[in-house]
Symmetry: D2
């Protein structure tokens, strides 16, 4: 016997989170349906606009990220479209998309600590970074290997401000960025922005990768389709020189 | 050297299908961004509403379909959320979501044949079904194991009519349904409806599974999260009686 | 530029871990080639027999474990064989196969601690269990939901003794079992046995899931093939009653 | 209710294909257990040696094939080992490993046709190639992008001859190679060799990808472990220059 709070399926009657599906289809935007699925309640207008922006911000970053790269590579081996997209999703890991989850976890933990201690956000940021550095780790969601001023971050934070989601988690993020800047600039990246905003929207940090995942699936479908229709199978995908640093060829044992 | 018509990535500058991402985020609904990604052009208002409805119609059908079932099962083994969702996507196959792809392929082929021959849709439907039956196959996208009148199909067709996407492929579908009804009712199911409508919107049938996939990912994320947060790991997921019909236990050889 | 210590590929010349592949094929048993791949050196006779036994012990436990269950479920949706097997592999997680990895990690850590402290294995076992209990966790690799005396464990330990791999990690495992028995019997299961033996063979605990994985792939291939050739697609795989405990159906908002 | 001819699981009693698992572990080589799982019967000595050679011949071809490439790429994103290996398996597709399946299908079909017609293998090879060419396809399992004389093929065929598996399917393969040579040399590659030999061993062609898959899993585990332990996460895996051939950046609509 299964138990679920999400779906009720009966003949000619499909209910999701309490809504008949025919009342959702074409009446509630897909991003809001996603919010409803995660949250169990319909978003208000501001939440609806914010969630839509969040998932769009992850759709595409070209071919080189492991997600899209893996999806195209696997597509080139002659598999069905969903198989290639799934391979790409498997690359949503601790260092690719994972900064949203871990970043949100840390922000949620330290906003709570800061409140209990009665600290300012700047004070909390300092303590937080000190502890992360002492444990030999890095704060996820800051810095980017290509962008120094990620246009997606700026846009998301502008929206968050306009819609009222620039609350304590966004503020703590900005305080962390300030604290970094006092030494070496390490601006909030798009993962860090999503981490802060979903925290201010009240989402559990364990859903962090989900926002990236659903957006990126849209982009990967386009890339897989382009690969299937425009490129040769098993093409050489990159300079394939390999340096062998293992043992020299040995005579067979015995 | 990669080549792509989808993305241009430069420092602080991310362009997708010709649009700066900061101009898409929060300004263009996610479903329209998905359309843009697939099509290379922005949808008009009617296309935007239709594509949004199409992907919402696949979000959720409870736990029992192989997608959601596999995702929850794999989640129960203690893996990261994206790994569980990917397992569910792998179940988007020829008989689960595949009716959209194969249905669209057949409709697109026969609309063309019908036109060349100058046939009515009823005539085309008859010939099409005859040939499918003769080859021992079944027309995908008709009939459902639970629903006799799928509320999603009705809703999608109403929208298609209102928005002007009830063209020759939808008409051929309805003619096929009529032809079935003359013998044994086998109503268009939600896959069949999507197949017809995306064909009338001008999509390549090879993208058929993509519409189902992106919608279902939203539902699977909710189900995986519910599994991770509400259920015990490795729980018994269903009556697990197994009947062994292999050989009787043998003494070891030798 | 890639760098690898595993393979050197040149025209008509394939070298793996220093051996020409034509010298491995048909001359070195597959399980030994697996050992060579992981270790970079050829196993001696005892290692060769032990590794073969270890990977065989994971091949099959019927349909109900998440691996095999997921593989058959996904196969029933009409996907290629490798896609279904991959879905099964995704279910090798923290609570399914993961006891090998985590168990080996703990054994390797505490054998070292015990040595430094000059403790007996019984003493180490007591301290180890105390600390695990205090942290609210459970010792992985002990107890089984079906077997009280797993025949695979017994067989593996007998072999380990005969081949000389019952060293300090196996001894610590047995001491833990003894310590459990003084309260409530919780015998070493097959995962626990593999964890102890690979530790005594000198393997890194981070390879723990690999031994289970490669064995289980063999079993899953057989199950997927059986599913594809003997069962109907999309069959109902288990009692599919679902209890909905979400909100009652609501009138659509607005 | 499940039904299976593979496994019987009862408390303290695990039977696979009629054998108690404790009688298989450490007594029957893993490759023979794989044969048993697929076939339902224990291999004889010759079958045991041949199957072992077959699966070893697929273990490793360096980093550049889509399987291993995808596995390392996904590993670099910070996911568990099984997740990365699964991504690699997803790349076992129609043009990567698939030549075994499709090659075996064609050989099995044409050996039958040749017999019915009373043709020589040379005659059958000519007709077969003519028909494949006429349909615009290519014979899978011949030619290699790197090797002109694949050392694995030679070794497998030598073993097949010594063990008596060079029967009609191997003979037809050799006849096809001869027929190619009369125009342009296109030697049997390792996939073609496996396709021919498994056909002479009596395996269903639908299992073709399975032999490649299980071997390659061994190699991928080693490569994933090397990636996890020797390389930086999210490293740049190849020259990542991308040429954008999409539309020029447009002003946002509206």
């Amino acid at each position: 016997m299964w138990k679920t709070g999400i779906s009720k399926i009966e003949p000619n009657h499909i209910v999701t989170r309490g809504y008949r599906q025919e009342d959702l289809i074409g009446s509630v935007p897909f991003a809001s349906v996603f919010f409803l699925l995660l949250n169990g309640k319909m978003p208000d207008k501001k939440e609806a606009q914010m969630i839509d922006a969040l998932i769009t911000s992850s759709v595409d970053h070209g071919i080189t990220p492991p997600t899209t790269h893996a999806a195209r590579l696997v597509a080139s081996a002659g598999v069905p479209l969903p198989t290639a997209v799934a391979a790409g999703i498997l690359a949503v890991g601790d260092v690719h998309g994972g900064a949203i989850e871990e970043g949100a976890r840390i922000l949620q933990e330290w906003v709570k600590i800061g409140k209990e201690k009665g600290w300012s956000h700047d004070m909390t940021a300092r303590e937080l970074l000190k502890q992360i550095r002492d444990s030999g780790k890095r704060m996820p969601g800051f810095g980017h290997r290509i962008h120094t001023k990620d246009p997606r971050t700026r846009r998301l934070f502008d929206l968050a401000r306009d819609l009222g989601f620039n609350r304590e988690h966004v503020e703590l993020s900005v305080a962390i960025e300030r604290e970094f800047a006092s030494k070496k600039a390490l601006p909030i990246n798009v993962d860090g922005a999503i981490a802060a905003i979903i925290s201010d929207m009240g989402f559990d940090w364990r859903l962090g990768k989900a926002f990236f995942l659903i957006g990126r699936v849209a982009g990967m479908i386009a890339h897989v389709y382009e690969e299937m229709t425009s490129e040769k199978p098993m093409r050489r995908m990159c300079t394939q020189e390999t340096e062998y640093d293992g043992p020299w060829e040995r005579p067979p044992d015995k």
